[in-house]
Amino acid sequence: VGAAIDWVSPYSSVLAPIVGLCVLVLAHVVLCQVGRSLNYLVAFMIAFAVGLAAQVWFGAATVASTEPLDRPARLILSAFSYAALGYCYFTFVNLGTTSLRIRILRLMLAAPTAQLSDTDIARIYDSNEIIDRRLERLQAWKQLEVKNGRYVVIGVPAFLRLYRAIRVARRIIYGRGT
């Protein structure tokens, strides 16, 4: 693979994560536009894999033009960089989709004078609405299920594992007893 474009500047290998990110974003937009029934998280995971393939290909092709020593280290670091950029993009997408604050900003933007009254906001978005939207999403993502009219957790879904991981992180960062 490296021989194919080994005439490029060695510094091109630094750009492999950016190339991967561009492919990720493009693939994500195309998947969301074409696959209308596809959940945006599933679309993101597919797009991430496509972007990773592009990043690995570009990285392998361009790193061949650098000194042989440390090529594997550069490739691994490049993959880490791509993962970090991918996560930043995911955070952006997730904010636009799930953040209440961003939703309110978008509602204000759509309003005639870019402003809403307390009454408008309360009418559009009361606390029941907030809970309902989250319950709907958590059920769609199989994080909660309804049993005898109550919401229960079956097994150890991803969100529960994440919640436990965050508790461990809090103990490490803030210390015991925090």
């Binding site: 440390d70 691994i76 997408v93 636009g96 799930t98 961003i102 606390s127």
Partner: protein, 166 residues
């Protein structure tokens, strides 16, 4: 020194500095302090790599570029993940509340778990604090910065067809 080891070591050092500072005193604006610590550590590590006799001195310039390409997004990733550590995510809190109660939860339990009666007001005040919204007499208006942020997200939501919101 391998660029991989050097980059990861600097990241771990920055994390260690954060833990040490947090144990002494928790800063008021934790995310801003994390960015300061991590970017400060990056700047020092980059400067040291240019000085003879310091770790990373023999690192070629291309590896300094690789180090930068890794370190900056990795720092933003950590700052973003840290918000989950700092504040309970309502969705995670709801799943945890349901998991901790053998009989599960109803809507009222969830409202209590995420402080649902206050959540809207809290988010609006946070938007005011971030300079995205101005509060008037019973009204809330977008600032210029708020318009930019809202427009960017509005385009993204249209492109990704992700209309459902929290």
């Amino acid at each position: 020194m391998s660029v991989l080891v050097y980059s990861l070591s600097v990241y771990v050092v920055a994390f260690g500095i954060q833990i040490a500072l947090w144990r002494i005193r928790l800063p008021r604006n934790q995310t801003a302090m994390i960015l300061l610590i991590f970017f400060g550590t990056y700047a020092i590590a980059l400067a040291l790599s240019l000085l003879e006799g310091f770790p990373g001195h023999l690192m070629p310039t291309i590896d300094r570029a690789h180090f930068t390409m890794f370190y900056l997004p990795a720092t933003l990733t950590y700052a973003s993940l840290y918000s989950l550590v700092e504040h309970d995510s309502p969705s995670l809190a709801m799943v945890a509340a349901a998991a901790e109660t053998p009989s599960g939860c109803n809507r009222a339990d969830f409202v209590r778990a995420i402080d649902g009666e206050r959540i809207l007001g809290d988010r609006l005040q946070a938007a005011v604090g971030n300079g995205l919204v101005e509060q008037g007499e019973g009204t809330w208006r977008l600032t210029a910065a708020g318009r930019v942020v809202a427009s960017v997200f509005a385009v993204a939501v249209r492109l990704l067809r992700s209309e459902k919101a929290g």
